[in-house]
């Protein structure tokens, strides 16, 4: 685990590795979802609004342009029609009264010229065949009038020819007029329609705009208020003491997911804190209780012990081997009870430890030295990987040596077939150091972990441990203003993590 010199993330450290892993699982559940933020949705809504307004504007411009070109076609066709009408009326005058032939020629020419000038512009409103028929009619009309004029000038007329020309011109004029009338009617109707569409467009776009606004306000608003309601529910649930993490409620990730992540983080911290506070309270109560028992037991135990000792001496002098053996048992058992009482007294000691700056490596090395034979016997390889330049901590060397002694003893007993026992650590931000004691032993079952620091709780077989080792470690580390955590995987091993401040205790630091 923690390699020397690495600085680890503090909050995770307070959580403990298993809880941190559970937390990360929920975190991943949120982070794996596609992002669809409320901000993006608002931006999208407004973008839609903008596009709609822009499309409306462009559409209106197009429609107006269309209407204008329709109207231009109408006026062109109307101009042609009026020339044509003038030409026809003049031609009729000529055939009836013999005058206005020149005018008829001019008007017919003018109508043809208008056609040549603006004919293609009418292509949109009349089909090509219709248009060419118009051109044909206008052309034959103009040519006819010109021919009639020539015949008139040279006087090469007869009544038969006159009748034929009159009918011919009348026919051409009627034909052109019919086409023009058609164009006029159609174009006027089209212009009317275009204007009506242009009139309706703003209303239609207003309706769509209303729809978008409704979507933004209603759908988005509902998303927000629902999320807020959900979070209100979470706060009630958390206040009631249910600390289970928030799970993703939506298939995508938005700003509320970030809030949920933050709340989850807080929940895990709270949980870690709470379990620590509960444990501290439990230990304090147990401490008071044990101190009372320890002190009450100290006197009778002393009496039994010294009486047994006296008898033992006497029997040894007399040479009564059987009684010596019995008394030795009695004496040894009082020693055992004595060890428990001493352990309890150490554990329940409330006073702050002596505070001299000391090297943790020294406590580690001297503890390992005491257990050298024990480790060799069980094939345990001890590795001290603490960095040389680890900042010193303030405290009681003897007490800290006792901590490492207990931890190493546990590790050795957890590795009857041997294995590696590694001490590593390094500095942490905020004037602290961390130390890990890792073994490859049998591990601790998860259900035992919460009780691991309780006095007299032991997972060892009867008679192998007093159940005070880790309790004492916890008490000593707490007295040194530090923290202790145990992570364990059954079958893989156990890591005990310590965190200790490198600053002197408050009363010395704070003195003026």
């Amino acid at each position: 685990m923690g390699t020397p010199g690495t600085t680890e993330n503090r909050p995770e450290y307070t959580l403990g590795a298993q809880e941190a892993e559970r937390f990360r699982q929920f975190e991943r559940a949120f982070l794996d979802r596609p992002t669809f933020s409320i901000r993006a949705r608002i931006a999208g809504g407004f973008l839609l609004c903008f596009l709609l307004v822009a499309a409306t504007a462009v559409g209106s411009l197009g429609l107006l342009h269309g209407a204008r070109s329709r109207l231009a076609a109408v006026s062109r066709a109307a101009a042609m029609e009026s020339r044509l009408l003038e030409a026809r009326s003049a031609a009729r005058d000529f055939f009836r009264e013999g005058k206005h032939l020149e005018k008829a020629r001019q008007e017919a020419e003018a109508a043809l010229a208008l056609y040549h000038g603006g004919g293609p512009a009418l292509l949109g409103s009349a089909g090509p065949t219709e248009l060419s028929r118009l051109g044909q009619s206008l052309f034959t009309l103009a040519r006819g009038v010109a021919e009639v004029a020539a015949l008139e000038r040279f006087g090469a007329w007869n009544s038969q020819l006159r009748l034929e020309w009159e009918a011919s011109l009348e026919r051409d004029g009627a034909q052109a007029l019919a086409v023009l009338e058609g164009i006029l009617q159609r174009e006027a109707a089209r212009a009317e329609r275009t204007l009506m569409v242009a009139q309706a467009l703003p209303f239609a776009s207003l309706l769509v705009l209303l729809g978008i606004i409704f979507w933004v306000v209603w759908v988005l608003g509902r998303t927000i208020t629902r999320s807020l309601e959900r979070f209100q529910g979470y706060t009630r649930r958390i206040a009631a003491g249910n600390f289970s993490p928030i799970t993703p409620a939506k298939p995508y990730r938005d700003e509320f997911s970030e809030l949920a992540l933050a709340v989850n983080r807080m929940l895990f911290e709270l949980q870690a804190r709470e379990s620590q506070v509960t444990r501290a309270g439990k230990l304090a109560a147990l401490g008071t209780f044990s101190a009372g028992i320890a002190h009450e037991l100290a006197n009778p135990l002393t009496n039994i012990s010294i009486t047994a000792e006296t008898l033992l001496e006497e029997c040894r002098e007399v040479g009564d081997a059987r009684k010596v053996r019995l008394l030795e048992d009695l004496f040894r058992e009082t020693q055992r009870a004595d060890a428990i009482v001493r352990g309890l007294l150490d554990y329940t000691r409330e006073e702050p430890p002596a505070s001299t700056p000391l090297r943790l490596a020294e406590a580690v090395e001297s503890a390992a030295e005491l257990l050298h034979n024990e480790m060799a016997l069980h094939g345990v390889r001890f590795e001290n990987q603490l960095p040389e330049d680890l900042p010193p901590v303030y405290g009681d060397l003897g007490a800290l040596r006792q901590v490492f002694l207990n931890l190493f003893l546990n590790a050795v007993q957890a590795m009857p077939q041997g294995g590696r026992l590694v001490v590593s650590g390094g500095p942490l931000p905020g004037d602290e150091v961390h130390v890990e004691v890792t073994d490859e032993g049998t591990g601790i079952p998860p259900e035992a972990l919460p009780r691991i620091f309780d006095p007299f709780f032991t997972t060892k077989e009867r008679g192998r441990g007093t159940g005070l080792g880790l309790a004492l470690c916890h008490a000593v580390v707490r007295r040194h203003r530090g923290e202790i955590h145990v992570d364990s995987v059954p079958g893989r091993g156990t890591t005990v993590r310590l965190r200790l401040p490198t600053t002197p205790p408050a009363e010395e630091k704070g003195s003026p």
């Binding site: 002190h295 100290a298 135990l301 010294i306 006296t310």
Partner: protein, 126 residues
């Protein structure tokens, strides 16, 4: 021991402790006066000069601490050994300051205390 047997005062409110300790010390060749009450010990202190005083601290007043202080006042050469169930650092420090030579935590081993007392009795303060 030799001509002038060393004299020891033993004070503890547990009679068994006084009895066993006195026996063991006598077997070690010392002259022992045992008390279970502070008042009696204070009276004895006025009549005799002791080489070593062995006392418990916690008992009905006048407690061991008064005997220790009185002995310190009237007989500065007397060596002091305190047996106590409590041995927190503060008590330890103040006892050392007063001039207590040895502090033994309860429960103790008889042989240990006898050896300590004998050593103190053999080597009076310079």
């Amino acid at each position: 021991m030799t001509a002038a047997a060393r004299r020891v005062l033993v004070l503890d409110d547990e009679p068994i402790v006084v009895e066993r300790l006195s026996e063991a010390l006598r077997r070690g060749g010392l002259e022992v006066d045992g008390f279970t009450e502070g008042a009696a010990a204070l009276r004895a202190l006025q009549e005799h000069t002791y080489d070593v005083i062995v006392t418990d601290l916690k008992m009905r007043p006048p407690a061991g601490m008064e005997v220790v202080l009185e002995a310190r006042r009237t007989h500065p050469e007397t060596r002091l050994l305190v047996i106590t169930g409590y041995a927190d650092r503060e008590t330890w420090a103040s006892l050392t300051r007063i001039g207590v030579s040895r502090i033994v935590a309860k429960p103790f081993r008889l042989r240990e205390v006898v050896q300590e007392v004998l050593a103190l009795a053999q080597h009076p303060p310079p």
